[in-house]
C-alpha cells in the first residue's frame, strides 16, 4: 500500500531561506518542460507514449501559469497568463475541450480576459492537421450580478487530438491572487507556476496536498514600471476589494522595484479522486494559495493587511459586518429580557435564547464569516446567512446577560483550516461560544431547528474553530462533538416452527443520527418513511408503527413498530437456521473499496447497538454462536457480540459497534474495513434451532 504524507508547507516571503521538508528531499535537478505554443510535439502523437495512461480519458501534458504585476495608469493590477496543452485519449475525455473562465467584477473593478488563443491538432493520414479556435467557438455569459463566465470550446476534438489554449486574465483585485492547482481529475504530466512579486507586496503562500514539488526556486530581480499619472503614491479605491494602490507621478516616470521571482512545478501528478466520507477534495488537491499580507510602498511604512490573529480580531470586531453588530441589538431586548428572569440557569437561558432565534430566523443556505448586512434588517426579514443568524444569536445572548463570543470556523465543504496562518479567508462560518460556570463551554448555532442546543450542524464538524476575542489573540476551540452518530434498537421477536418471525421493534436515533433521521422523516412523512424501511427487506410486513419525540430535539427520536417477517423457505424442519440480526444491521460493509488515499472523516464518533430477544417455538432449543470482541488498533473502536440464553425458551443477542474517533487516517482504512467485515459476519451468523 502506498503511504501518502500530507505536505503542508509555509512559504513566507519575508524569510530568505528556502523551504524544508518534502521539497529539499527532491534534490535531483528537474528539467523544466517547455513548449512552443502553436507547435505540437510529434511525440504527443505516438501511441506508445500513452500506454501508462491507458486508464485516463485525457492527460494534461503541460499546464503553465505565470502571475505578475503591471501598472495600469497609477494602479497595480495582477496579470495572469495561462498556457495549457492536453492530450485527449478517449471520447470520455472530450469534456476537457470545453473551458470556463469565471471573471469577477464589482464597483467598476474587474477581471478581464485577453489574448485568448487555441488550437486543436489531429493526426490525419500521417499528417498533422491544425485547426484554430475561432471567436464563434466562444461565449460570454452574465452568470450572476458579479460574475461573468467566458466559455470556449476547441474545434475538431477527436480521440488522439492534442488541444492547447492560452489566455491572460488581468485583475484589479490584488486580494484575489488566484491559487494554482497542480492536480486535476485527470493525470498531469507537468504543471508549473511562476509568480513575480514586487517588493511593495507581501503575500503569504501556502502549499497543500499529498504530492511533492518537482521544482522550487526563488530568485531576486529588478522590475521596471512606468507610472503615468500625477501626484505621489496614494492608496487607491475606497473599497477594500479593489485594493488599488500605486505610485502617482507628475508625469511618466520609471520606477524599478526589487521583485522576487518564484517558480514551482510538479511532475507526473496522479488524478485526484473523490472518496466517500471525505470533507472536500479541496482539502487534498495539490495546490498553492496566496494571500495578501501587507503592502510596503516607497516612503511608507509596512502596511499590514492580514498579519496576526490579534489584528484579525480587531478588524472583525470593529467591522460593521461583525463586531459592530454584536452590541447593537437593543431591538432584541423586548423579546430577550423576559428570559433572564424566567431562566436563572445560564445553560437553560442560552437554550431559551437560541430557541427564540431558531424560531425567528430561517437559514438561507449561504455561509460567510461576516453578516450580509445590518442584523436588524435580517431579523425583520426573518431570514439570513449562517453569519447573520449566529451573530444575531450572540447579540441576543449578550442582551440576556450571557457573555457569548464568536468562533470562526470553516465548513467541511469549505475545507480544513491551517492553524499556522492567521488568514480570515480560511473561514466561512461563525458560531457562538458561551463559557459556563463549571468550566464548560457551550458551542451554539441557530441555523438548524432539528438540532438541540449545544449540537453543531454536521457541516461545522471540521476539527477546530477560532475564538475571536477583544484585544486578545483569541485561541483555537475544539469542535469535536460529544454527540455521536447514535442508533439503538431493542427488538423482541417470537419465531414459530416454520421460521416465521413476529414481534416489536423499538428504534432510537440520537445525536447526529437523530438529526439525520428527523430530517428524512420531515421530508418523507411517516408513511413514506416506513414504506422505505420495508423496501429494504423483501419479506417484511409492518402492520403498525408510531413515532415519538419527533419535535423534542433534546430527546432521542423513537420509532416503534410491529414486525412480521416471513421465513425465506417454507415448511417445518427438524432444524431451523435463523439469522435474526442480519436485517437490523448495516447489511453491507460501508467500505467497499480495498484502497484509500485520504482520511476517513465521519465528523463525529459512532455507536450502533442492537439488543434482540428471541422467543423460541415450544419444543426447540438453540445452538448459540460464539461471543466475540473485536478491537480497532489504539482504542479506535470496538465491536462486541454476545449470545446468551437467559431462559430455556429465549435467546438474547447483543451487537454493539463503537467508533471512538471522528476521523481515521488513510493508514487506518484497512483495519476499519476489516473491522466492519468481522462485525457484519457476526451479525449474519446463523442460530441453529433444534427440535428436542
Amino acid at each position: 500500500m502506498i503511504k501518502k504524507i500530507l505536505i503542508l508547507t509555509q512559504v513566507s516571503v519575508g524569510i530568505s531561506a528556502l523551504l524544508s521538508g518534502a521539497v529539499s528531499a527532491q534534490q535531483a535537478p528537474v528539467k523544466v518542460v517547455e513548449i512552443k505554443f502553436g507547435k505540437p510535439e510529434p511525440a504527443d502523437f505516438v501511441a506508445k507514449n500513452f500506454v501508462a495512461d491507458s486508464a485516463a480519458p485525457a492527460v494534461v501534458l503541460y499546464d503553465f501559469g505565470a502571475t505578475r504585476f503591471q501598472l495600469n495608469g497609477n494602479s497595480f493590477q495582477l496579470e495572469s497568463e495561462r498556457v495549457t496543452r492536453i492530450k485527449v485519449l478517449k471520447k470520455a475525455g472530450y469534456d476537457v475541450a470545453t473551458v470556463e473562465v469565471p471573471l469577477y467584477h464589482r464597483d467598476g473593478s474587474e477581471e478581464k480576459i485577453t489574448n485568448l488563443r487555441g488550437f486543436t491538432y489531429n493526426e490525419v493520414g500521417g499528417k498533422l492537421e491544425k485547426v484554430k479556435l475561432e471567436t464563434s467557438n466562444s461565449f460570454l455569459e452574465e452568470r450572476t450580478k458579479n460574475v461573468r463566465v467566458r466559455k470556449f470550446t476547441l474545434p475538431n476534438v477527436r480521440e488522439g487530438a492534442v488541444i492547447e489554449y492560452s489566455y491572460t486574465v488581468t485583475s484589479d483585485f490584488l486580494f484575489n491572487f488566484q491559487d494554482w492547482t497542480f492536480q486535476r481529475e485527470i493525470p498531469t504530466r507537468w504543471s508549473e507556476f511562476r509568480a513575480t512579486i514586487p517588493e511593495y507586496f507581501d503575500y503569504k503562500m501556502l502549499m497543500q496536498g499529498y504530492e511533492p514539488l518537482a521544482l522550487q526556486a526563488r530568485e531576486d530581480g529588478i522590475a521596471q514600471y512606468t507610472v503615468r499619472s500625477q501626484g505621489g503614491f496614494v492608496e487607491g479605491g475606497g473599497s477594500a476589494l479593489s485594493g488599488n494602490t500605486g505610485r502617482v507621478a507628475a508625469s511618466a516616470e520609471t520606477i524599478t522595484p526589487k521583485v522576487t521571482n518564484y517558480h514551482w512545478a510538479m511532475q507526473n501528478v496522479p488524478a485526484l479522486r473523490d472518496e466517500p466520507y471525505m470533507t472536500t477534495p479541496r482539502d487534498y488537491v495539490a495546490r498553492i494559495n496566496f494571500e495578501l499580507a501587507g503592502r510596503r510602498m516607497p516612503g511608507e511604512s509596512y502596511h499590514n493587511v492580514a498579519g496576526t490573529w490579534q489584528k484579525i480580531n480587531a478588524d472583525l470586531l470593529s467591522s460593521d459586518e461583525f463586531g459592530g453588530q454584536l452590541n447593537r441589538a437593543s431591538f432584541l431586548a423586548l423579546a430577550v429580557k423576559p428570559l433572564m428572569t424566567q431562566y436563572p440557569d445560564p445553560a437553560a437561558r442560552a437554550a431559551a435564547v437560541r430557541d427564540l432565534i431558531v424560531k425567528s430566523m430561517k437559514y438561507d443556505g449561504t455561509n460567510h464569516h461576516s453578516a450580509s448586512g445590518p442584523l436588524k434588517h435580517s431579523y425583520e426579514l426573518h431570514r439570513g446567512t449562517a453569519a447573520d443568524i449566529n451573530l444575531l444569536l450572540i447579540a441576543a445572548l449578550r442582551q440576556a446577560g450571557l457573555p457569548a463570543q464568536p468562533v470562526l470556523l470553516s465548513t467541511r465543504a469549505h475545507g480544513r483550516v491551517n492553524q499556522t496562518f492567521p488568514l480570515l479567508e480560511q473561514f466561512n462560518y461563525v458560531i457562538g461560544m458561551l463559557p459556563l460556570p463549571d468550566n464548560q463551554e457551550l458551542l451554539l448555532d441557530a441555523t438548524e431547528p432539528l438540532l438541540p442546543c449545544g449540537v453543531l450542524p454536521t457541516r461545522c464538524l471540521n476539527q477546530v474553530g477560532r475564538l475571536v476575542m477583544d484585544k486578545e489573540e483569541g485561541r483555537w476551540v475544539d469542535l469535536t462533538p460529544s454527540q455521536r452518530h447514535n442508533h439503538f434498537q431493542d427488538i423482541k421477536l417470537t419465531v414459530d416452527a416454520q421460521g416465521n418471525l413476529s414481534g416489536q421493534v423499538r428504534d432510537e436515533f440520537s445525536g447526529y443520527t437523530g438529526a439525520a433521521v428527523r430530517e428524512k422523516l420531515q421530508q418523507l412523512g411517516e408513511k413514506k418513511y416506513v414504506t422505505e424501511l420495508t423496501s429494504q427487506h423483501p419479506n417484511w410486513e409492518v402492520p403498525s408503527y408510531a413515532f415519538t419525540s419527533v419535535s423534542e430535539m433534546s430527546q432521542p427520536l423513537r420509532l416503534t413498530y410491529e414486525l412480521r417477517q416471513q421465513a425465506s423457505t417454507a415448511g417445518t424442519a427438524q432444524e431451523l437456521y435463523l439469522k435474526p440480526l442480519e436485517a437490523f444491521g448495516e447489511g453491507q460493509n460501508p467500505f467497499r473499496h480495498e484502497q484509500r488515499n485520504y482520511p476517513i472523516d465521519f465528523g463525529a464518533s459512532t455507536q450502533d447497538v442492537i439488543m434482540l430477544t428471541l422467543t423460541l417455538p415450544p419444543g426447540y432449543t438453540a445452538e448459540l454462536p460464539k461471543q466475540a470482541v473485536i478491537d480497532l488498533p489504539e482504542k479506535g473502536g470496538r465491536y462486541v457480540y454476545s449470545a446468551t440464553s437467559p431462559t430455556p425458551s429465549t435467546v438474547q443477542l447483543m451487537s454493539r459497534l463503537t467508533l471512538n474517533k471522528p476521523v481515521y487516517s488513510a493508514q487506518e482504512y484497512t483495519s476499519l474495513r476489516e473491522f466492519y467485515r468481522l462485525a457484519l459476519a457476526k451479525q449474519a451468523e446463523a442460530l441453529v434451532l433444534k427440535k428436542i
Binding site: R143, P155, H382, N539, S568, A681
Partner: protein
Amino acid sequence: MALPPMLLPVFASLTLLGSPAPKYPADAIAPALRENAHAVVRAYDEVVTVKSASQLVKTVHKVVTVLNEAGSDDYGQLVVSYDALNRISYLHGAVYDAQGNLLHQLRPAEVHDQGMGSDGGSFMTDLRVRYADLRQPATPYTVEFNYEVVSENTLFYPNWQPQSAEKVSLEGATLQVVTPTALPLRFEEQQLPAGAASAPTVVGSQTTYRWQLPARPAVEEEPLAPSLDELLPAVRLAPATFEVQGHAGSLASWQSLGLWTYQLGQGRDALPPALTAKMAQLMVTAPDPRERARKVYELLQSSTRYISVQLGLGGWQTAPASSVASGGYGDCKALSNYTCALLKAAGLPAYVALVGAGTDHADVRPSFPSSQFNHAILCMPLAAHGATPADTVWLECTSQTDAFGYMGSFTGNRHALLLTPEGGRLVATPRYGAQANRQQRRTDLWLDAAGGAKATVRTRRVGLAQDLYAQLLHGADPDEQKKYVSNHLRLSHFTITNLRLAAATTPQALPAVVETLGLDLPAMATAAGRRLLVEPNVLGRLSALPAQVGPRQSPLALPPASLSQDTVRLHLPTGFRVENLPEPTQLTSAYGTYTSTCTALPDGTLQYVRQLETRRPAGATLPPAAYTEYQAFRRKISQADHAQVVLMKNDA
C-alpha cells in the same frame, strides 16, 4: 363585476389608510387539505392573453401556504425562467404570517437574476432565471407572487397544472385564455373533474376560454406509478397558427408542424466540396446501402461531438452543416442535419425526426399536435438491395459510441415526428421487447471450508439491459467503472479482484456489453455448527418492492419487459457433502414467469439455474389494485431467490 372605473382609486386609498386586512389566514384551510401536505396552493390564477400570432402574455397570481419546514424550499421561493424570446415584465411578491398579516413585501433588489449555463449543461444558452426567496422560520406562512411573462415564442403555449407535485394540496385555481377569435385556441384536458371547463365567450373580436379547479387533497408518489404530470389535472394549450421570429406556421396537424420545422432547417445542408466528394466516393467503395450508411455513421462518430447550444430561434433551428464540418461539434439538431447532409451526398436519403427523449419521458400524445419534443434523431429508409429486404435505420447523431441503428431506452419504444419536404409524419421508433432487454450470467463459485468463496462471473447484457453499462464502458475510466460496480453489488462484504467491460454485438444487430468480474467473498456461506449454509443466487437477486402502506392510489406502471438468466456452478470444498438442496421453483403470473432449479452434477458440483422473464401486460399502465397482485409475485420471487443449500462436513 363591472365597477365604474372612477370608483377604483377611492377604494385603493381607503385600504391604504388602515392596516391592511389579513390575507389567506392559515386556519381557513380545510383539514382535508392539510393531510399529508407540506404546502397548500391557496390560489393559482393564470391569464394567458394572445396578443397576435407572434406574441402572448402570461400573468400568474400564485398564493401558497407553507405548512411545514419540508415545504419551504419548494414553495417559499419562486423561480421564473426566461430567455431571448421570453421576457419577464414584472415579478412581485409578499409574505404573510399564519394569521395573514403582511410580514414583508418583496423589493426589486431582492429579486435575483442568474444565468443557467452552470446547471443546464449547455455550452451556449440564453436561458436565465429570476428568483425570490420569501422563506420563513415559523410555519405556517403564506407567500403570494404575481408575475408576467411576455413570450415571442408562440410555438409554445403555456400548460396549466396548478397541482403538479406530491405533498401539496390545492384550494382552488383558475385559467383564462383570451385570444383573438381569428387565432383560435387548441387545448387538451387531462383528468379534469366535471364542470371544470366553461363554454367560451365571445366579446367583439376576442374569445375567452375559462377553466377552474375546486379543492383537491395532496397526493403521494407511489412506487411503479406513472409520473404525477400524467395523473394530476392539467390543461395543455397550443396555438392553431403561430409565428416565431417571422416564421409563420400551423399546428393544425403533425403534417403542418413538421413542415414548419422542416422549412426552418431548409437550405442549411451545404457541405464543403471536399466532404461531398468523399461521400460520393463511398457510393463506389460501399455499394451496399446499409454498409455505406454505417461508414457515414462511423465518420460522424469519430469526427464530431455533442455540444448544446440554445440561443433564441437557434433552440429550434439547426446550425448549418458547414459549421459542424468546420468545428466538429453541434447540438442534436445540428448533428442530425449534418448527418442527413452526409447521407444525402452518399446517395442515401434520410429524414431528421423530432422525439421526446429520455427513459422516463412520456410518449407523444398523438391526438394533440404540438411541440412535445426535446431531441432530434435521424431516420433512414433503406430500399431493398440484392437479397437484403427494405428496412428503416434510426441513428442517434449526438453519441460517439452508440451502436449503428440502435435507439435504446433513450429514444426507442415511442413516437417520433419525421420532417419531410411534404411535412411531418408521426411514426414509431424501434420497439425493444424482452429479447432486446436481456441479461445472461454465468457464475462459478469456489467455496472453502470456512465459508469463504472466490467467484468468477461473466455477464452478458443485451439491448436495453446494456444501456447503462455501455455508458460505463465508454464514458468512465477503469477506476470509475470499478467504483460503480462496487457501489451496486448487494453483498455484505467483497473485494473485486478483476473487472473488465467489453462491447459485443448480437446477430440481431443489438449492442451488448460483456462484464467479466472476479470476486473474493470472505463471507459467502454461513457456518452453523458443522454445516455451511449457502445461497447460490449471489448476484441475480431481484430487488425488493416496498410494501404497500395504506390503500394504493396510482395505476401500476411496469418496467419494460425483460429476460434474465443465471447459471451458478457451486464448487464444494473438500470434506463436505450436500445435506439439503432447495426445491425447484416455478412461478407463473400475468407479469412473467420464474423458474429456478438446483441439481447435483456428476462431477460433484452443484448447478443452480434461474430464469425470470417479465412481461408488461396490456400496454403500460394497470389499475391500482394490480399492485397487490404484482407485489405478491415479486415477493414469491424474492423468497425463491434466497434458496439455500445446506452442506455438511463429513465425519473425519
